[in-house]
Each structure stands twice: as structure tokens, then as C-alpha cells.
């Protein structure tokens, strides 16, 4: 589904990603672990075309999307849930979802499905996004990305600052999407959450993918996690 091949990227002269490669498959949850500043968010931005590559390629179902202008990438079925949610704060819930629907011309049935998944949003369609609670905002950010019927979903720390019941809700949504065959790339700080739902884990350090493992392998060797993400 998604193949990142030897990419180098950064901001201006500061290089963040170095020769990074990884792969995400349909119906699988790939988790990215790593310390702050390791380059996880930059990697997602590079996939979205918001950070230009110095070299390397990003393939989606075999086509290179790294040369496309950033606004074309979502049209290929990439849904993005950015860090800090990044809702259109002054727009209503309905308008935020409308933006997601417009990205790939999704019909009303898609909206219906998404609202069935997050019934809380249906009650708040006319409310401004900034007036929602933190958990509801995360639901909206997720719903907005689902409105473009993604085949690849990128989530950047979706559970940051949420209460446990909300975390469970978001996790269930992610697992449900996996079952529908969506490829999922999840950036997450909380190791125990990662081990629960990941199919594979890639550890990123200094912009490189230094280790790929299954949750079982990480569980068996706690030292690994401690070395790369421990504080």
C-alpha cells in the first residue's frame, strides 16, 4: 500500500529524515515509536507533501506521490489526522466534515457512516469546532479524515491529552478501520497503547528507522523499548 523508500527531508538546511524506509500494508496497523524530535511528525508531513523530499520516493499502490503538489495527495485516498487535531476552529462541526467530504467528492452515505461511528458529533453538527471538548475534537478530526474514504490513514498522537474512555473510543475506531482494510500509520508516545493494537512497530531515532519489530518481540525484550524510547 504505502512504501517509503530511502527518503531524506527536512526544513530548510536542517535535515530531519535520513535514508528512511518503511512500508505499511492494507489492513495493518503500523506504529511509529520514538523520542520527541526523532522525526515522526516530519515523516507524516513528508507523506502528505507538506515537507518536500531531498531524495527518495513515496509510493502509494505503486505510484510515486512524492512529486505531486500537496493538495493532490489526499485525492489519492490519504487521510491525515494531524498532531493537535488542527480543526478549522471557527467552522461548525458540519462544515469541518464538509471539507473532508469535498476532498474526494464523497456522497451523503459516507457522512452517514461516519456519523454512525461517532454519534456524539451528530448531536453537535451546528456547534463551532472550538467549543467541543478535547475528546469530541479528536472524534471530529478523525471523522473529518474518514470523510474522504481513506485507504491510508495517518494518525499523529491521536490520544494526546484525552481521558481513558475517549482513548478507548479512538482505539476502537482505529481497529474497526483496520478490519475494513485501511492501512494505518500511527504515531504514538504511550508504549503500552502501541503494544495493544500494533501489527508492526518501527522505531525512529534521529530521522532513521533503526528497528522494526512485532509487539510480541518488544514485549519479550523490554530492554529494546527502554533503549530507544525510554526517558
Amino acid at each position: 500500500m504505502l512504501e517509503v523508500r530511502n527518503i531524506n527531508a527536512g526544513y530548510g538546511k536542517v535535515q530531519v529524515l535520513r535514508d528512511l524506509s518503511l512500508e505499511a500494508k492494507a489492513g495493518e496497523i503500523l506504529c511509529l515509536l520514538g523520542r520527541n524530535g526523532a522525526g515522526k511528525t516530519t515523516l507524516l508531513k513528508a507523506i502528505m507533501g507538506q515537507v518536500k523530499l531531498g531524495s527518495g520516493a513515496i509510493l502509494l499502490d505503486g505510484t510515486d506521490i512524492s512529486a505531486l503538489p500537496a493538495h493532490q495527495i489526499p485525492k489519492h485516498g490519504v487521510g491525515y489526522i494531524p498532531q493537535g487535531r488542527r480543526l478549522f476552529s471557527e467552522l461548525s462541526v458540519a462544515e469541518n466534515l464538509q471539507i473532508g467530504l469535498m476532498a474526494r467528492g464523497s456522497g451523503p452515505q459516507v457522512l452517514e457512516d461516519v456519523l454512525t461511528m461517532f454519534p456524539r458529533l451528530r448531536e453537535r453538527l451546528d456547534q463551532r469546532a472550538e467549543t467541543l471538548s478535547g475528546g469530541e475534537q479528536q472524534m471530529l478530526a478523525t471523522a473529518r479524515a474518514l470523510c474522504l474514504r481513506p485507504k491510508l490513514l495517518l494518525l499523529d498522537e491521536p490520544t494526546e491529552g484525552l481521558q481513558p474512555s475517549m482513548i478507548a473510543l479512538i482505539r476502537d475506531a482505529v481497529v474497526a478501520l483496520k478490519a475494513q482494510g485501511v492501512a494505518i500509520v500511527l504515531v504514538e508516545q504511550r508504549v503500552e497503547a502501541v503494544l495493544q493494537i500494533a501489527d508492526r512497530v518501527v522505531i525512529i531515532e534521529n530521522g532513521r528507522a533503526v528497528l522494526e519489530a512485532t509487539p510480541a518481540e518488544l514485549e519479550a525484550d523490554k530492554e529494546l523499548i527502554h533503549r530507544y524510547v525510554g526517558v
Binding site: 502528505m48 493538495h71 493532490q72 495527495i73 467552522l91 471539507i99 469535498m102 476532498a103
Partner: protein
């Protein structure tokens, strides 16, 4: 001199000014709000609107009505197209950097002004109004027979001035509908709130910017076409609208369209009234003083959001 009828006259003059100012300032406010570009060349787009209106009306010299209507449509379109071209040629290449776009639009200001001087010439040239009936201002007086209407001598407005006010209201409502009721408006507002996320949802931000810059310039041109039958076209006429638009946008709150409209009516009206009873210079002094006060006591403007 009776006060009442003069006040009505002053309010009408003020409303005409407020109408044109509202359109011009809305253009500036849209461009700043969505693109974060301070367009110093905005007044020149206004001037070009008037100059093109003169050109179009002259080319169709047969009937003032046809000439004016054609100018009302063609001049804003031409100016808008020119603005889109300058966005693609200049602003986009500067990556919309806030400081560099200020310098670039100052450059555009002089290029547009001097090219107009070389081609259009230094003279002020009129456009014939499509209709221009004199409408005397009525007033009431109390006599032994009770209340009576009469027309104080020498006080009148024209049907064209009333048309300018009505046209500005109509265009303002159209812009409001565009921003709040249409898909284009939704895209503009989303881009204004978060450019990067808008891009992540398939919104072609560069094309949106080009459109907004064109729309902003076209609004200024529209205001100018409306005022040329009253004021004449001249290559230096862009200075005042630029200054007043900045005043309005700052008082209203940067990026707030509602604030822009309220402030434009406030400044336009007070300008008209003070100009009639005192002097135009005093009107400008007071408006500038108001900006200073707003900047000191309410830097985000009347309707601007407080920076988080």
C-alpha cells in the same frame, strides 16, 4: 441655515463615501484575512477600476447607460485578472512571506501608477452617470396650518448617489452570501483558518490565493467604477482609498469582514458629516486619531479575535 436638512444631506454624502469605502476595504480585508498579505497596491487596483471604467465608457460612447453598465462588468473583471496575474508572477514566487510581499506590493503600486500616467495621462477624466436626476431634499416646518413639507433652497442629492448606496448594499450582501452560504466561501474560510490542514484535505491553496487576490482587487475596482461618475478618474486617486481602507480594516479588526463593514460605515459616515459641517482635513485627522486609539486600547480591532 437650517440644521436638519443639512444633516440629511451630510448623511447622504457620508453614505455614498461609506458605500465605496465598504467595497474597497472588504477587498483589502479579504486579502489580508485569507492570504496574510498586506496589499499596499490595493489603492492602485481601485484607480485602475476607475481608469478602465473611463476607457470602456468612452469606447461605447453612444449611450451613458450602456457604457456604464459595461464598465461596471468589464472593469472589475480586467482588474481582477490583472491581480491574479500579479499574484502568480510575483506574490507566489515570494512564498507569500509577510515582509517581502509588502515590499513587492509597494513596487506594484509605483509600476501601476506610472504606467497609468504614461498611457492615460495626468488629467482627471469623467465618466457620464447612467442617470442623474436631481432630487431635492424635503423638510418639514411648523406653520399656523400645522406641519408642512417644503424643499429648502439649494439642497439636493441625485438619483445616481442613491443608486451607489443601493448597489453597495447589494454587492455587500452578495459577498456575505458567498462567504457563508457557498462552497467557495467554505474553502476560503478553511484556508484562512489553517492553510496547511486545508491543503491536507485537497484544497489547492495556491489557486485559492490567486482567486482571493483577484476578488479583492475586483471589489476595489467595483467601488471605483461606482464613484467615477461622481469623482472622475485620475492616476493619483488611489491614495485616499488605500489610507481609508487600512484605517477601516485596522478599526474593524484584521481579517474580520463584519468588523470591516461596520468600521467602513462608521468612518465613511463620519467623514461625510464632518466634511460637510467642518472640513475634510478634520475628518481625516479624527479618523487617524481613532485608529491610534483603537491600536492603543483594542489592538485586535472592534471585531477581531484576541490572539490566543
Amino acid at each position: 441655515m437650517e440644521f436638519g436638512p443639512h444633516l440629511i444631506l451630510a448623511i447622504l454624502e457620508g453614505l455614498v463615501q461609506a458605500s465605496v469605502l465598504t467595497l474597497t476595504a472588504l477587498g483589502l480585508s479579504l486579502v489580508f484575512g485569507v492570504m496574510r498579505v498586506v496589499n499596499v497596491a490595493h489603492g492602485e487596483f481601485f484607480m485602475l477600476g476607475a481608469v478602465f471604467a473611463y476607457g470602456v465608457a468612452n469606447a461605447l460612447a453612444g449611450s451613458p447607460v450602456i457604457g456604464f453598465v459595461a464598465a461596471l462588468i468589464i472593469a472589475p473583471l480586467l482588474v481582477g485578472a490583472l491581480a491574479v496575474a500579479s499574484d502568480w508572477l510575483i506574490l507566489r514566487r515570494l512564498n507569500y512571506d509577510p515582509e517581502r510581499t509588502i515590499v513587492a506590493t509597494i513596487g506594484m503600486l509605483y509600476v501601476i501608477q506610472q504606467v497609468t500616467l504614461m498611457t492615460f495621462g495626468p488629467d482627471a477624466k469623467p465618466v457620464a452617470p447612467p442617470f442623474n436626476q436631481r432630487l431635492a431634499i424635503p423638510w418639514v416646518e411648523f406653520t399656523d396650518k400645522g406641519m408642512e413639507f417644503y424643499y429648502p433652497w439649494g439642497l439636493a442629492t441625485t438619483s445616481y448617489k442613491l443608486f451607489v448606496i443601493a448597489a453597495a448594499i447589494a454587492i455587500g450582501l452578495a459577498i456575505w452570501a458567498l462567504m457563508t452560504r457557498s462552497k467557495i466561501g467554505l474553502i476560503l474560510r478553511a484556508t484562512q483558518l489553517d492553510r496547511e490542514t486545508a491543503q491536507a484535505f485537497g484544497i489547492p491553496v495556491e489557486r485559492v490565493y490567486a482567486f482571493v487576490f483577484g476578488l479583492g482587487a475586483a471589489l476595489a475596482a467595483l467601488g471605483a467604477v461606482l464613484i467615477t461618475p461622481i469623482q472622475q478618474a485620475h492616476y493619483l486617486m488611489g491614495g485616499d482609498p488605500l489610507l481609508l481602507s487600512f484605517i477601516v480594516v485596522i478599526i474593524g479588526g484584521l481579517g474580520s469582514l463584519r468588523g470591516t463593514v461596520v468600521a467602513a460605515i462608521l468612518i465613511g459616515l463620519s467623514n461625510g458629516i464632518i466634511s460637510v459641517f467642518f472640513s475634510p482635513t478634520l475628518a481625516k485627522i479624527l479618523a487617524t486619531l481613532l485608529v491610534a486609539m483603537v491600536l492603543v486600547y483594542r489592538p485586535q480591532g472592534l471585531f477581531g479575535a484576541k490572539p490566543a
